[in-house]
């Protein structure tokens, strides 16, 4: 028996911060101290707190260390494991109160969360099926196999589970369509394309708890009468693909995938397809075309995939997180599931909280939590004491929500009302230094680039809107540009073929709704209030700070800066091309913008 267990987070974030080096150093130290059979070291999935990685937790006492390095291991082993003293300098320090916290449940980042879907992430070894099974894994599948398919469909319907991939369509209804569709062959497709640039919930779920997704897929298969599934994963997620492959092989070995599963007569096969990098392939009909080996272009619906999907067969497509909820519902029951969340949105939602907050990472919260709680409690507020401005929620299809709506409860319906949408679950916090026009331009450049070109409103509309936004951020905006944008946006929204075009104008429409003054400042005053749009800035040197070191004169490409050595310098505004080189160069912060 081991006396202690040490979990080292091996999600993509922590690996890039050096988790493997930490593991190696720890293994070495344990060996030196002859402790290998007393302490078990486990590489776990993502704990969500990527910013502070690599993370390391010592059980049973549950001491949470962060930002550890290989060099810290001798001290950690000697102090903590041998002498029983906690290494205080490696504990988490609250950015606002400066308080040191040793137990991870006391950290606000975790205490406000409700980790149901992520319950295993960061707790179990994702490459070991036994650990999943011990924690109740595959019990849901067993329950489903004991039932009639219609009963399974009914349960999911009653649970109120809504799709987590974007639109929030009721999963039970989708399953019922597929269940009712006639066909000799039916497919389940798991959408793990996760194209939203700024979101990584699905990645972490797959990396940290792949069996939960497999179990969800098979329950869906049982419900709709399918015997084969495809998981469509982005090729940018090599670790997720590897862990899925391992999980499938292990489940096959245990007879949980294959023929006559658990003696129920139910057969199942799971395939992995690697996506090849096109945002539109996240859209369900485009995704199917891509699995079929074609260009991933959407087609009009109906017929819906539930009727005519992969290779013309009835197909049920669900998102990773949707499917990861399913085993829990089957195991713990509808009543348990519906006790969390709001009237119209049951359960939890995972968000990738990023941007200008102190604590970035992955968090799972009950539906109905307010934005304020997410940004200020879980996220620990805005970094560097800057002022909060807005959150962007839902990625390129979503919108910006201003400070005045901080107390908005997060659920499908209230977000849609505010002009945004739940989307995938990307949540980017922004401070006073983020320019909202630039942000709209950023999203449009993304959607314009990813528009597949099949339908005219989206292909041409995104291009024209992008041109307008570019000229506004370059200080060449015209008075009519705002009304032009509004007109094109509404047209594209109403007339595009697929969800990409229908939602692409959302970032523009919400910023126009809540931050119109910023657009006006760019157009009429030729000024960027956030100080972000390069062409609109004018640079000057603060004579109080400048000590005449001459560093800026050497980087200025147009020789706009003059002054004697050891005397304050000045920038000639006529010559300055606002490249910002001097600002980056000055070590004293004497170069400023206005």
């Amino acid at each position: 028996m081991y006396e202690k267990q040490i979990l080292i987070c091996a999600g993509t974030g922590c690996i890039s911060s050096g988790a493997y080096e930490v593991k190696e150093a720890l293994d070495n130290e344990l060996q030196k101290n002859n402790m290998e059979d007393k302490v078990r070291v486990i590489l776990s999935g993502c704990h969500g707190f990527c910013e502070k990685g690599p993370l390391l937790i010592v059980y049973p006492e549950d001491i949470f260390y962060c930002e550890v390095t290989g060099e810290d291991m001798p001290e950690l082993v000697e102090q903590h494991l041998v002498n029983g003293n906690i290494v205080e300098r490696l504990l988490y320090k609250d950015p606002n109160t400066e308080q040191i916290v040793s137990n991870h449940e006391e950290i606000l980042f975790y205490s406000k969360q409700k980790r149901l879907v992520l319950r295993n992430c960061g707790v179990i070894d994702p490459e070991n099926i036994d650990e999943y099974i011990i924690r109740g894994g595959y019990q849901g599948l067993k329950n489903a196999l004991d039932k009639d398919p219609s009963e399974v469909v009914e349960m999911i319907k009653n649970s109120g589970l809504r799709g987590r991939g974007g639109a929030g369509f009721p999963a039970g209804m989708k399953w019922e369509f597929a269940y009712r569709s006639q066909g000799d062959k039916k497919y389940v497709v798991c959408n793990a394309d996760e194209g939203d640039p700024g979101a990584f919930m699905d990645r972490s779920t797959l990396e940290g708890d792949p069996h939960a997704v497999l179990e969800g897929i098979m329950i869906a298969g049982k419900a709709i009468g399918s015997d084969e599934a495809y998981i469509y994963v982005r090729a940018e997620y090599p670790l997720a693909i590897k862990r899925l492959r391992t999980a499938i092989a292990q489940a096959e070995e245990y007879g949980l995938i294959g023929e006559n599963i658990l003696n129920s007569g139910f057969n199942y096969k799971v395939n992995i397809k690697e996506g090849a990098g096109a945002f539109v392939c996240g859209e369900e009909t485009a995704l199917l075309a891509s699995i079929e080996g074609e260009r991933g272009m959407p087609r009009p619906r109906p017929p819906f995939p539930a009727v005519k999907g992969l290779w013309g067969k009835p197909t049920c497509i669900n998102n990773v997180e949707t499917l990861a909820n399913v085993p829990l519902i089957m195991r713990k029951g509808v009543k348990w599931f519906t006790s969390v969340g709001t009237e119209g949105s049951k359960g939890t939602k995972i968000f990738a909280l990023t941007g200008k907050v102190n604590n970035t990472g992955l968090c799972e919260v009950p539906m109905g939590i307010t934005l304020r709680e997410v940004v200020f409690d879980i996220g620990g507020g805005i970094r560097g004491g800057k002022k909060y401005k807005a959150v962007q929620i839902g990625g390129p299809s979503g919108g910006c929500i201003p400070e005045s709506l901080l107390d908005l409860p997060i659920d499908f319906d209230s977000l849609t009302q505010a002009g945004a949408m739940m989307g995938s679950g990307g949540l980017v916090a922004m401070d006073e230094e983020t320019c909202m026009v630039d942000l709209a331009r950023y999203f449009l450049s993304f959607t314009q680039n990813e528009s597949c070109g099949k339908c005219t409103p989206c292909r041409e509309g995104t291009k024209r809107m992008l041109e307008i936004l570019e000229r506004i951020t370059e200080g060449k905006g015209e008075a009519e540009d705002i009304s032009r944008l509004e007109k094109i946006a509404v047209t594209v929204k109403d007339s595009s073929l697929c969800g990409l075009g229908q939602t692409a104008p959302n970032p523009i429409l919400t910023t126009l709704r809540y931050f119109r003054d910023e657009y006006e400042a760019h157009i009429y005053d030729r000024r960027c209030p956030a100080g972000m749009c390069k062409e609109l800035l004018s640079y000057y040197i603060d004579p109080e700070i400048c000590n005449g070191c001459r560093a800026c004169t050497k980087v200025c490409p147009v020789e706009a800066i003059t002054g004697e050595k050891k005397e304050p310098h000045v920038i000639d505004e006529e010559k300055c091309i606002a490249c910002g080189a001097c600002l980056d160069r000055c070590k004293f912060g004497a170069v400023k913008t206005k």
Binding site: T12, G13, I15, S16, S17, F49, C50, E51, G53, E194, G195, D196, P197, G198, A199, F200, R203, A235, E236, Y237, P238, K273, E274, A276, G277, A278, F279, S290, I291, E292, G293, E294, R295, G296, M297, W311, A352, T354, G355, K356, T360, G361, L362, Q392, G395, G426, V428, M430, T434, L439, Y442, F443, F446, E450, C452, D584
Partner: protein
Amino acid sequence: MCQCQEAATSVEENFEYEKVESLLQDYLDKKGVMVPILQAIQEEFGYLPRPALEYVAKRLRIPVSKVFGVATFYAQFHLEPRGENIIRLCRGTACHVRGVAKVADKMQEHLGVDVGGTTPDMKFTYEEVACIGACGLAPVMMINDRTFGKLEPDKLKGILEQF
């Protein structure tokens, strides 16, 4: 006269068709294999050589245009040879908000090539992608399979020198 027929069936002398043929073995009787075939060829050659695509079309009995259509649709596929190390700088939202633009400027300065370009010594190919999925560490880039987070313009040199 129309030359496309000729071009499509032309045979490149030094091209290793056997390699493509052996890659095709796993896929010949299956459906939906176009993307995986191209992925396999790219894995083998580092990019998609034109003769390989023509060969695939011939073997699958489909027009070359169809193969090119798929190859050019997906960001993952490349029709030109690429460098030894692939740099993929993230231009996703989280990285954008946390100032990846400055890192990108510095990167171009260091490498002397634009996005999509390969350094003359074939050492690096510089690409941009939308989100690597490590947004908590923004700004982020990948070089081959390694992820580097919390980038700053001044850190680039040290990282590139490791390759």
